[in-house]
């Protein structure tokens, strides 16, 4: 009986280990904004919606700043992270109505949260190296 259980355990382990190591990976950044969008849509309170969006954008910018200043990051990664930061800043400006942007109307906040998710899904995370990406993921989990 013991031998059968051990054998079953080995078989289960074999299947588990066959799962790709990079499953999830870059998706963590997208999930982060998707979670924020879900929270935005879950509340009726407009001020709360704005706060959630603002904090999520600021939180990711803070993480990107830390990663960008890390000695582990290459110049290319630094530039690519800079683009993502610029894109996040534009979204924050639009949310608050700064830098020539019209403030996102209260009625459009749910759509705006979808826009942030979709925009990040097609952002250039693909050009960021695995090291930079792992740092971002670790810091998102730890700090945000």
């Amino acid at each position: 009986m013991k031998a059968q259980i051990t054998l079953l355990g080995i078989i289960v382990m074999m299947f588990v280990l066959a799962i790709p190591a990079n499953a999830g990976g870059k998706g963590e950044i997208q999930k982060y904004f998707n979670d924020a969008a879900n929270k935005v849509k879950a509340t009726e309170n407009v001020t709360e919606k704005r706060t959630i969006l603002d904090e999520s954008l600021k939180g990711m910018t803070k993480v990107l700043n830390m990663v960008q200043s890390s000695p582990l990051i290459s110049n290319e990664d630094g530039t690519a992270i800079g683009h993502i930061k610029a894109s996040l800043q534009e979204k924050q400006d639009e949310l608050t109505g700064n830098n020539g942007y019209q403030r996102v109307p209260d009625t459009q906040l749910n759509n705006f949260s979808n826009y942030v998710v979709q925009s990040m899904e097609q952002a250039e995370t693909i050009t960021i190296s695995l090291v930079a990406l792992l740092l971002i993921i670790i810091l998102v989990v730890l700090l945000v």
Partner: protein, 375 residues
Amino acid sequence: MRNLHSFLFKGATYPTLFISVCYAVLFMLSSSCSANLPVQREAQQMEKSVLEVKYSIVCIIHGDGDYLYHDTKGNEFKADVEALAGAKRVAQQNPNAEVFIFHQKPKRHFLFFFPLRDGEFFYYRNGRLIANELYWRDNEQARFEHEVELYRRFHVENQREMVSMFLYYGHEIPEFDGAGYDASYPDRMFTVTDLVSGLKDFTRDSTRFDLMILSTCFGGTPYTIGALGSFAKTIIASPENLHLSYFDLKSLERLDLRMRDGDVSTFAKRFAHQTFDRLTKDVQTEVSVAVYDIDSTHEFLNSVQKVYNKTLTTLDGKTQPAKTMIEHCDCGDLPSYVLPTINAGVNIFYRPALFGRSKYKQNHSGWECWRNIIP
């Protein structure tokens, strides 16, 4: 001898048993004689089904990369998995078609050391799955070597005229560089040139696909359309970013009803319109779906070929940090591309992003170019 005599004698005394054995042997013989009949019938049916193939569809789905996306309800999807399910539905819903589906999957290992096959092939004919094979993608020489081999093995050589389609679902196909397209093979290159080599092998009899659907971001550049145009009469592509929910495969189901008149051009416009309508319902970022009638675009492409190739050569020679300082833009925003022929052969469905700097942009030329990022 006595025993034999005794046996024959007993056989004579049991005539019923003897006759039964004879009948059994006769039955077996007659059965074995008629055994070819079902095979023959099947072969005839097969021949009939081959004759009934009116559509031939090749669908390549790239899944070796970051393909995660969310719908507006927050549900998580993997673009390649969704596209695969859609392609299978297309195959099952078309009784008069043969459909080749190639799913390029991430590299995986069993117990860390033993590599698993990272390509999966499905072949459907007359709505039925005929073959499902796993194959290796790690071929160094030609990007689509195994896909072409499988295609040649199963492709129906039909005398009758068929409507042929080539579908590519994946990320933007780079015009230069191309390293890192496959997450599992970071050093391996994949560019438009590699797709062109693959298409050369698919269409070795030098016929063009009637319709090519390029479900990727930034597919509508003068170089990409010019290069792929040698292998297709009509191309549907997105000049701008394309949301990972992709172009609608649903519109390819029941082609016998949707393309009854065999007019591929009209079908392509309808396909683009339906995809555009669906995307604009859910997507907040910009949506662009263009139909290129290749023969009508030649004049424009010839006029801009020199200037566009020069741009590509310059970009290709740039260092990596310099390459991060360029971005895609509408060719219509660049004076050297604004020619009287820019709209010839292009049908574009465009809606700007609902937020962001470009939300006031009202139209798009249908052609995508490169420019330096203005700091």
